[in-house]
Symmetry: none
DNA sequence: CTATTATTCAACTATTTGGTTGAATAAAGT
DNA sequence: ACTTTATTCAACCAAATAGTTGAATAATAG
C-alpha cells in the first residue's frame, strides 16, 4: 500500500517514462508504437508502461491484441496539487509560456521548409 | 549529467524526504533536530538530506558544528513548471523545452532582485 | 586537555530498479 | 491450419536505494 505520491513521483523520475507521457499527450498509442523511437527492448517499454499504469498516470485498455495506452490526468493532478500546496507556489507566467509555444511553432515551420 | 528533473522527482518519491520538506517549510533546522521525530538512524536522515541537497531542494549551510538546512524553492519550482506545462503541450522538442525552463528560472531570479 | 555534541564516513545488507534475452500467449491475417 | 503481430512472462544481471552499525572528524564546552 505504498502511498500514491511515492508511485507517482518515482514514475516521473525516469526520463524514458516522462518522454512516454509527452508522446501520449499527442494521442493514444499502442505499446509497440510507443516503443519504436526508444533504443531499448519492447519488454523494457512494456515494464515502463506498467509502472506508469500502477502510478495511475496512464490507462491501458486492451482491444483485440493491441493494448492502447492513454494519459490519465488524475494522478498527475495529485502531484500538481501536492507541489502547489507544499510551497504555495505561483503558477508560471502563462504569457511567456505562450511565447515559447509560438517560437516552437515557428521553428517547426522553418525546419520543414 | 543526470537530468535535474530525475533527481528532483526521485527525491520527492520518498515519504521521509517529503516529510522533511514539510518540516522545513516551518523553519530552517539542524540535521539532528530533523532526525528527532523519525524512527531511523541519524545517518539515514543525513543521507536523505544529501539526496535533497543534490536535487537542489534543500540548501545546507554549515555554521560551526551545526549544519543548517533550509528549503530552496527553485528546484521545486522546476518540478511544478514541468507538471503544469505537461498537460498543455503539443509534442515539442524536449531540448527547447529545457531551454524554456531555464529561461523561466532566470526570469524568476531577476524578479527577486 | 578531555568530554560532549553534530555530522558524516565506511562497510555491509536487503530490496528495488531498469535493463537484457528467449519463450509463451493470444489475436488477426492469409 | 499456419504465420505473423502484439504483448507479456520468466529468469537473470548490474546498479542504485534505503537502511543498519561502528568508527572518524570536527567544533564546542568545561
Amino acid at each position: 500500500m505504498a502511498h500514491k505520491l511515492n508511485q507517482i513521483f518515482s514514475a516521473l523520475a525516469d526520463p524514458t517514462r516522462r518522454d512516454i507521457l509527452i508522446m501520449l499527450l499527442e494521442d493514444d498509442m499502442a505499446v509497440t508504437d510507443i516503443a519504436e523511437p526508444f533504443e531499448m527492448s519492447l519488454a523494457a517499454i512494456s515494464k515502463h508502461l506498467i509502472v506508469l499504469s500502477n502510478a495511475g498516470l496512464v490507462l491501458q485498455e486492451r482491444r483485440g491484441r493491441v493494448k492502447w495506452c492513454k494519459l490519465d490526468p488524475e494522478a498527475i493532478h495529485a502531484a500538481f496539487v501536492w507541489i502547489q500546496t507544499f510551497g504555495q507556489l505561483d503558477p508560471i507566467n502563462l504569457d511567456s509560456f505562450e511565447e515559447f509555444l509560438e517560437k516552437e511553432k515557428l521553428l517547426k515551420n522553418s525546419e520543414s521548409i
